[in-house]
């Protein structure tokens, strides 16, 4: 696992809780990249909207517990770790992003180098799991579901 440099990260207001119905995901365009934000009913998780298999739109997948199933070839990806969890997808991984909810607004934590990456169009699929990745529960303001 590569260490990401300690650079500044910033919480960014992304979407309203109401934009995403329970157990569904929505894609958000952040620069040149798409992030899938998924409403688990009690929290929102964010993950790259590119399946590690062939780039399928994970935001369009069926949610199963804390995983999402890619609509193209049914790879199952953990929304908490970004790792593949079924036999086909095991040992693959994509990036997860931290989320926070305040007053019905979903925030995403975007790192600077992540944003830089967008400038180059981020051609390659991200291959590292960000250790600090994962998610924050929106304890203080539960999303309206």
């Amino acid at each position: 696992m590569k260490e990401t440099k300690a650079e500044s990260k910033r919480w960014t207001r992304i979407a309203l809780c109401d934009d995403i119905p329970p157990r569904e995901g929505r894609a958000v365009k952040v620069g040149n990249r798409e992030i899938a934000i998924v409403n688990l009913g009690d929290r929102f998780l964010a993950i790259d909207n590119r399946c590690p298999h062939k780039g399928g739109p994970l935001a369009d997948g069926i949610v199963s517990g804390t995983t999402v199933v890619c609509p193209l070839h049914a790879w199952k990806i953990s929304l908490e770790t970004g790792e593949g969890v079924n036999s086909a997808s095991a040992s693959s991984c994509i990036e997860t992003l931290r989320t926070r909810v305040e007053h019905g607004v979903i925030f995403l934590e975007l790192a600077d180098n992540y944003r830089k990456g967008q400038e180059d169009g981020m051609q390659e699929l991200p291959v590292l799991c960000v250790e600090t990745g994962g998610t924050a529960t929106a304890a203080e303001s539960r999303p309206a579901t």
């Binding site: 992304i14 062939k54 369009d60």
Partner: protein, 802 residues
């Protein structure tokens, strides 16, 4: 041949005739039954009332059985007189029929307690199929139903009425529910369970009058007080139907008295079933009646020898989720008997064993009846339990969690309803070459009663017959460990309407990409579209009504019914393709046009510009009808296949199906539109249509089977509709018609669709009509999306500067 006349076309009489047919000499048999139905399984009337079974499902011997055995069946004829000197019986149709031997199997009548004004509209009994149908017709969601009687029958009736939506109260004379089978503690546990299910139980109340002016309005209790009621069911017990016994001058006490050979006091008249009394006991459950029938069959055919020596009575309550079993002695007052009990109030489990002289004398199980087979065996065989004292209530668990068939004794009962032991089944397998469940049912009658022993029968077959292939109980996936056909029944009877609810009650609470769409379909079909649709449980295609492609874009296929389009439509399609820079426009293999590579956010706009309905090319639903030009233009055409195909597409479009349904209609057997390899095909011939089903031309190629040949187009469409709805209701999810038809067999498909009874056909068509009425063109969501962000890509609230 000697003449055998049987009075009573019920369970005991026919079971006995089945036995008689195995003996020789043969008889010329006439059976009178005052019900107008062939022999059916009375036990399962409770399931019919609860909507878990249709009345056709409970038939035991169809008309073909009577024919094959040369039996003269006289349905709807009541025997009113017996002349035991002249040896004739007289029917209420005026017929006089001579007999050499007479078999009385008249069962019993519901016992009507002395209640004032009991003959009011809205007061029912629950004994036969007609009663059940009348009840089903009368009960409506929200009405108040009162069941008088808290025994097995009353409780099952109560549950059935509740499933039908009634507010149910059970009024019981005694202080204990099912007091003939349970002690006060067991009755208390049962009452708590019934209350939990939402059924009110009132104990120790004697009903004295039915209130209301001509029509039921309530019931009144002794000592004042009463409750309102729109419907009353009397289930206060049964009384052996012995009228003909008196007529014939037989010895009659409570029932017609028989000895161990099942002989009455007249040498040529015999009796079996609930109407007899043996050794002072009248039985009210099926298993003893079957045993009686076997003995009687030997006696009546001159093979006298086997004796009937009474039966241990065992009862099981057939209410899903309320497990109650009782057998043998239940009271505490037996001299010198020991009682062993176990209770867990939180789990609602109660077990009580009564031992006498080191042997089991009685057992009561509430809340968990998994061990009933073992206890039943101990009771019947009088097993010495002294060495087992430590394991009486909780046996040392066997390796696999289920019941270990190898460890069962041969004398152990497998099928409690029909009284079939393990030994009998093994014998049937070895001696009669039984190796499927169906053959086992036919040969031994095991598993034809309440059905709870089916699993056990299968395990036995598996253990003894090496080539036995278990009738695979297909479950959808491991999230819900219930067989798919059973699940459909559960959802129907438990009135479940949302995927999440089903998963929480019957599954793991989470679900996955396999079961969620399957459940979505099932609920849509069961409730004819009137369910709580949950988009999150559906595949992306069904969330946005387009087919997702390998790059995450979508394809758009408008409906072009029968493949017939117009210059105007084609122009609009061309304009849309230009306007949205659609990367590819393709003619599909189904006579339609596909616009490929469309962005999700453009979908609603494209649909609006096209102004055409969805072709459902993205879903498990009605795809299209491929047609040829038929009589319209073709030189060979003999039927107007184009119009027929377009009409068929109109009638079925917008509906969902277990898997996609592709259809075809051709104007003559040259079959240009390949209707013989479609799920449903109409094939025109001179003066008629062939309706074919279950064809395939995909990974698998299969020629469709002929369903029926009919004269008019309307008849052809009706036949197609019957099959279409039957497939929707009975196929497993993701089972194409060609697998479905092969699995069920075209004979059975025909019997349950085009050759079904009128009521069944009307049921299918009515449910199809309802579904159709509630369905609509999915693309209309362009104007009223399900969710504001259904099609749009979310833009970050905050601009992101890089």
């Amino acid at each position: 041949m000697k003449k055998l006349v049987v009075v009573g076309n019920g369970m005991a009489g026919i079971a006995c005739v089945e036995q008689i047919l195995r003996h020789s000499p043969k008889f010329e048999i006439t059976i009178f039954g005052d019900e107008t139905h062939v022999n059916y399984n009375r036990i399962l009337l409770s399931s019919v009332l609860a909507g878990e079974k249709a009345s056709d499902d409970i038939v035991l011997n169809g008309l073909d059985w009577y024919q094959q055995n040369g039996i003269d069946l006289r349905l709807g004829v009541r025997i009113t007189g017996v002349d035991s000197q002249a040896k004739t019986v007289t029917g209420d149709d005026g017929s006089v029929t001579p007999f050499d031997k007479l078999l009385l199997a008249t069962g019993s009548n519901p016992l009507i307690p002395s209640i004032e004004e009991v003959k009011k509209e809205g007061v029912f009994v629950f004994r036969n199929l007609d009663d059940t149908r009348a009840l089903l017709e009368r009960c409506r969601p929200g009405i108040k139903a009162v069941v008088i009687g808290g025994g097995l029958l009353g409780l099952e009736a109560a549950r059935g009425l509740q499933v039908q939506g009634c507010e149910v109260t059970v009024v019981h004379l005694m202080e204990t529910l099912m007091e003939r089978q349970l002690d006060p503690t067991g009755g208390g546990y049962l009452a708590a369970k019934m209350n939990q299910m939402g059924i009110t139980v009132l104990l120790g109340l004697s009903t004295t009058a039915i209130l209301g002016n001509g029509k039921v309005e309530g019931v009144q209790f002794k000592g004042g007080g009463g409750i309102p009621a729109d419907l009353v069911v009397i289930a206060a017990g049964i009384r052996p139907n012995v009228g003909l016994g008196h007529e014939a001058g037989l010895e009659v006490k409570r029932g017609i008295v028989v000895n161990d050979y099942m002989e009455t006091s007249h040498p040529d008249i015999f009796a079996v079933g609930e109407c007899v009394q043996h050794n002072g006991v009248c039985y009210g459950l099926v298993a003893p009646l079957i045993e009686q029938g076997k003995v009687l069959a030997a006696t009546i055919t001159g093979n006298k020898g086997p004796k009937y020596q009474g039966s241990v009575q065992a009862a099981k309550l057939k209410i899903m989720g309320v497990d109650v079993f009782s057998a043998g002695e239940i009271g505490d007052k037996l001299d010198g008997s020991e009682v062993i009990r176990y209770e867990d109030p939180a789990l609602g489990i109660y077990r009580k064993l009564t031992l006498k002289g080191g042997k089991l004398a009685g057992v009561i199980l509430v809340g968990d009846t998994a061990d009933s087979h073992r206890y039943m065996d101990w009771l019947r065989t009088g097993k010495d339990l002294v060495p087992l004292r430590r394991q009486l209530l909780f046996p040392t668990p066997t390796e696999d969690a289920g019941i270990d068939v190898a460890q069962m004794a041969d004398s152990e009962t497998v099928c409690g309803c029909m009284g079939v032991t393990k030994g009998t089944i093994i014998q049937a397998i070895h001696e009669s070459g039984v190796n499927t469940l169906a053959q086992l049912k036919e040969c031994t009658r095991a598993s034809t009663g309440c059905g709870s022993c089916t699993g056990l029968c299968q395990s036995l077959l598996k253990a003894v017959v090496p080539e036995f292939e278990e009738e695979v109980k297909r479950t959808i996936c491991k999230c819900i460990p219930v067989a798919e056909d059973q699940l459909r029944e559960i959802l129907r009877s438990q009135q479940l309407k949302s995927v999440q609810e089903v998963l929480e009650i019957y599954g793991n609470g989470i679900g996955c990409e396999i079961c969620k769409p399957a459940l979505s379909y099932m609920l849509d079909m069961l409730w004819c579209g009137d369910h709580d649709e949950d988009r999150s449980a559906r595949f992306i295609n069904d969330r946005v009504h387009a087919n997702i492609q390998k790059d995450g874009t979508f394809s758009v296929v408008p409906r072009i019914r029968g493949g017939v389009t117009s210059p105007d439509e084609l122009r609009r399609i061309a304009d849309v393709a230009d306007k949205y820079r659609v990367p590819m426009v393709k003619i599909t293999g189904s006579q339609r046009i596909d616009l490929l590579g469309v962005k999700k956010s453009d979908l609603p706009k494209i649909w609006a510009d096209l102004g055409m309905p969805s072709g459902q090319a993205y879903t498990k639903g009605v795809r299209m009808v491929k047609t040829c030009v038929g009589t319209e233009f073709c030189r060979f055409g003999v039927q107007d296949s184009t119009s027929a195909g377009i009409e068929m597409e109109r009638r079925f479009e917008n509906l969902f199906t277990p898997h996609k349904v592709k259809m075809g209609a051709v104007g003559c057997p040259r079959n240009c539109a390949e209707a013989t390899v479609k799920d449903i095909g109409l094939i025109g011939q001179e003066g008629s249509w062939q309706v074919v089903v279950g064809g395939a031309a995909g990974k698998k190629v299969r020629k469709a089977d002929l369903l029926i040949t009919v004269e008019t187009t309307e008849e052809a469409l009706a036949a197609a509709a019957l099959f279409f709805q039957y497939y929707r209701e009975s196929a497993n999810y993701l089972e194409r018609t060609y697998d479905f038809v092969e699995r069920i067999g075209i004979e059975k498909v025909r019997k349950e669709t085009v050759y079904a009874q009128d009521a069944a056909k009307q049921g299918l068509l009515e449910r199809l009509r309802k579904s159709k009425e509630r369905s609509s063109d999915a693309w209309l969501e362009r104007d009223s999306p399900r969710h504001p962000t259904q099609f749009v890509q979310i833009k970050p609230l905050e601009e992101i500067f890089v």
